[in-house]
Structure formats: C-alpha cells, structure tokens
Amino acid sequence: MRIQETKRDGVVVVQLDGQLHASSVNDLEETLNSISKWDKKIEIDCENLDYISSAGIGVLIVVAKLLEKQGGKLVIVGPNDRVRSVFDMVGLSALLPIHKTHYEAIRDLK
C-alpha cells in the first residue's frame, strides 16, 4: 500500500492507495504516530483504498482516540462501497466522521 502525506487547506491529508491489511498496517501506524506528534487534525483519504481489514481499522481507532484526547480529530474521506461496508460492520461511523469529500472533511476539521 502506498501512503502519501500532504497538507491541503491547512489539514494533513494521508492518502492511502491500495490494500490496508495486517502486513501493510505497520507503515500506516508509524506515519500516523509521527504526524500526530505535531498535527492534531488528520484526514485519511480512502478514495484509492481497495481493501481494509480490522488491523487497519484498529490503527485508525487508536489514533482517533489519541487525537480526541488532545482536542484533535481524525476523519475519513471517500471510502468506496466495499470499504464503507466494512466500516459499517464494526460501527466505525459512530466513532469517527466519514465524509464523502475532502471539502466536507475540511468543514468538519476547522
């Protein structure tokens, strides 16, 4: 899985391309741990994410909790239907916001 980190409209956007599974999750964990030291508002762009398992969702939950404690937030943008259905199976949308577009995410994060 490819991870691209950019800053857009004042928010750190972490774009995930490919498959987030138990073998590709370590990179994401390291990246988010590193970002969250300085940036407390993080957008996870899932538009090019083809697959996710509980390993990846677990990392997102842990980081979301950490940021929330520090007055920050983690939001998810643009998951496809299948990835969205996995989120729904574990009740993720009740824990952190899932937006369709980056622009909605910006409004949420500011």
């Binding site: 073998s23 697959y51 509980s54 990392v59």
Partner: protein, 158 residues
C-alpha cells in the same frame, strides 16, 4: 481417537477443497493469502464482492491464529483451503496452535463509544457478518475453522 471424532471430521470435510496453500505463522503471509483467494476467484468466476468478503474473512481468521495461536517463536504452518460447489464457496483454516474456538468469543459491542473501544477484537465479528456459516472443529489437536458463503448461480470455469 474414537469413531465419533472421525465422523465429525468427515462431516466437516463434506466439501472437497479444490485449492490449498500453506502459510507460515507470520503476518506478512497475508500477502500470498490475498493473492491465493484472488486467483481462486478468477478461476471460478467469483464476483469481486465475494472475493473481497472471502479474503477479508480469511485474513481475520489467519491473523487471529498468528497473533494468538502460539506461545513462543517457532515457525508453524497454517493451512488454508478453498472449495466451491454450485451455490456455495467454502474456506477452511487449519492450524496446530493452542486449542481455540473463536465462536466462543463474546459478541463485540459495536455501539461502545470511542474511548471504550480497543484497537482489536473485531476479527471474529467481521467473519460472522461476512460469512453465512462458520463451523469449528478441534478434533485431533488441530483447530479447523470452516467458513461457508452462498454465491449466486453456477460458477464459471468448473
């Protein structure tokens, strides 16, 4: 091993596995696992949706075994099988780790708020939601978990 145990194994082996792979107890083996399911899906004309669900369920079972099935650092082999009949795909995970029936785990509380949620514990919950049937057999000192999922129409290429 008594006759009763053998009968249980035979009844769980009602579907013949048409493809199998052996993986090491290492999370990096998720990569060949995903490829294994993808190839099986291609060969048998499974829909992308079924392949996705099957892959995810198998990953969750496999990673549970890797993380919790063994004490110590020795290598072990985990067997994955896939089989297909007219309206059903069957997957099987077999390991020689500590006896563990994941079906005995309590249901996850998906309504728990963020600060009560851990980063783990979602795997078996997902397997139950993704698959139509899940069976466990611990006979002969091996864990065997069988997953079944109904698929529409006759499979192509068989």
């Amino acid at each position: 091993m008594g006759g009763c145990t053998v009968a249980t194994r035979e009844s769980l082996q009602g579907t013949e596995m048409q493809a199998s792979i052996e993986l090491r107890n290492d999370l990096d083996e998720v990569v060949p696992l995903i490829e294994f399911v993808r190839e099986f899906g291609n060969l048998h004309g499974l829909s992308p949706s079924v392949v996705f669900d099957l892959t995810l369920a198998l990953e969750e079972v496999f990673t549970n075994v890797v993380r919790h099935g063994y004490v110590g650092k020795e290598p072990h082999t985990i067997g994955i099988g896939l089989g297909i009949e007219v309206h059903e795909v069957t997957a099987e995970v077999e390991d020689d780790g500590q006896p563990f029936n994941p079906l005995l785990m309590p249901e996850m509380d998906i309504s728990a708020p963020l600060d009560a949620r851990r980063g783990g514990g979602m795997g078996i919950h997902l397997v139950r939601k993704l698959m139509d049937e899940v069976q466990y057999d611990g006979a002969g000192g091996r864990n065997r978990l069988r997953l079944r999922k109904r698929v529409d129409g006759p499979p192509k290429g068989t």
